[in-house]
Symmetry: C2
Subunit: 241 residues, 2 copies
C-alpha cells in the first residue's frame, strides 16, 4: 500500500509520501513515490504516485524521456494546468497499452497521482490526477489531497489543518497523518519523504527523508502520544447512571 499527501496553504505547499510497496504480504519492498521535476529558481513541480507500480514507473520514465527528446515536456508546458493535461495524456496512453493485459490476470491497473508546484505567474497549485487521466484541483475549501491508504490519516487533517495553517504546522499535521496511517496499516512504512515549499520562493524550502529512527520523528511521536494521554485525562467524565 501507499500513502501520499499534498497540503495547499496560502503560504505554500507541503508534500509527504511513504515508501513501502507490497505485492502481497510476502513481497514488501521500498520504492520512492515522490518525484521532483522542478527547475530550482524557475518552476516547482513534484509528482507523487500510488497504485500499480509498473504503470506509475512507466509514466515517470516517459515523462523523463520526454525531458530529453520530447517536443512537449514538463520544462516546456506553460502552466500547472497544462502540466496536468500532459501528464494525464501520458498516463492515458500507458493505461491503454497495459490495462487489457493486466485485467486478463485481474491485476489492479489503477493509479492516482498528486501533482503539486508553482509556475511563474501562478499561485501554488495542487492536483489529483486519476487513472483515467482526468484531474481535479485542490482549493481553499478543500485544501488537501490524499492518495493510496487515505482513511486512517484523514481525521487529523479534518480536525487540525486548513488553508490558513502555517508551513510548520501543516508539515506537522502531514507527518501526524502519516504516522496514524503507519500505525494502522503495516503496509505503509518509512522512510517518509517530506517536501515543504514556501509560496513565490521558486526554490524547495525543505526536503528530507525521515527514517523511523530519526530523532525528530521519535520525539514527535512520543510527544504526541503523551499529549493525547493528557488530552484524555482532561476529557469530561461521561455521566453514568
Amino acid at each position: 500500500m501507499t500513502y501520499c499527501l499534498g497540503l495547499l496553504m496560502e503560504s505554500g505547499l507541503v508534500l509527504a509520501a511513504d515508501s513501502r510497496t507490497n505485492a502481497g504480504l510476502d513481497y514488501i519492498s521500498s520504492y520512492r513515490k515522490l518525484f521532483d521535476f522542478s527547475i530550482q529558481g524557475e518552476r516547482i513541480l513534484y509528482i507523487l504516485t500510488s497504485g500499480n507500480l509498473s504503470i506509475t514507473q512507466s509514466v515517470i520514465n516517459l515523462l523523463r524521456q520526454d525531458l530529453a527528446d520530447g517536443s512537449e515536456n514538463l520544462q516546456t508546458v506553460p502552466t500547472m494546468f497544462s502540466a496536468c493535461q500532459y501528464i494525464g495524456q501520458i498516463l492515458r496512453s500507458t493505461e491503454e497499452r497495459d490495462r487489457p493485459i493486466l485485467e486478463k490476470d485481474r491485476i489492479d491497473h489503477r493509479v492516482s497521482l498528486i501533482v503539486a508546484g508553482q509556475f511563474r505567474g501562478e499561485d501554488p497549485a495542487l492536483y489529483l490526477v486519476y487513472t483515467q487521466g482526468n484531474f481535479i484541483q485542490a482549493s481553499e475549501e478543500t485544501p488537501f489531497i490524499q492518495i493510496g491508504e487515505t482513511k486512517y490519516g484523514k481525521p487529523i487533517l479534518d480536525r487540525a489543518f486548513n488553508y490558513h495553517s502555517s508551513l510548520q504546522r501543516a508539515a506537522l499535521c502531514g507527518l501526524l497523518s502519516m504516522d496514524s496511517t503507519m500505525i494502522s496499516n503495516l503496509s505503509v512504512g518509512s522512510p517518509v519523504d517530506l517536501v515543504i515549499y514556501a509560496k513565490d520562493s521558486f526554490k524547495t524550502t525543505h526536503r528530507s527523508r525521515l527514517q523511523e529512527t530519526d530523532p525528530f520523528w521519535v520525539t514527535m511521536r512520543r510527544t504526541w502520544q503523551k499529549s493525547l494521554k493528557s488530552a484524555f485525562d482532561h476529557l469530561p467524565e461521561l455521566p453514568l447512571d
Copy 2:
C-alpha cells in the same frame, strides 16, 4: 454507511453504534443498529449490525421470532459461542434465500455483526460474525472489533485503548472514535447508541442515546478539539534547513 464498535476489557464491555443508513446520498434515514437480547440479571447479549439493511433486519426478526416459538433461541443457547453459531446459522439461511436475487441487481448482500455479552460461568466476550456466518472472537491482544466504516476511527483506538483500559476511558475512546468517523464520513451520523457493561454484574451498567446536541457530546468535542490544538502547540519544531 454505518459505524459500530465493540471494546473488550478485563473490566467489561463498551458498545457503540451510529444510526444513519443510506441507500445513496438522496435516501438517508435513521435506523437503530444496536439490539438488546439480554435477560437482565441473567445473561447479557447485544447484537450490532452493519451492511445490507434488509438482511440484518431479517436476521434480527428471525432471532426474535425464535424467542417466541423456536426450540433453539437466544435464551436457550448455553454459551456465547453457541449463540454465535446459532446467529451464524440464521444469517446463512437468510443469505441463501436473498443473495441470488440481490446479486442479480448488483446489490451488495454483505453484512457484519458484532455479538457481545456475558453468560453465567463465562467471561465477557466479543465476536465478529461475517456474511458467511463464520465468526472470530476478540482477545486481550486484539480487544476491539469494528464493522462498517472502520478506518477513520481506528487510529484513536490504536493509540489510546487497550484491554486494561477502564470502562470510563474505553467509553470515551469509543465516542472519540465515533466522532472522528462522523467528521470524516457524512453518512455516519448521530444519534449514537452507547452501552457500557461491567463484568460479572449481569446487568447493563449504562445505556444512552446521544444526540449531537447532547451537552456531554458537545463538551467532549469542544474539550478534545482544544486539547488537540494545545497538543499541536507542544509538538517539537520540525528542524528546517
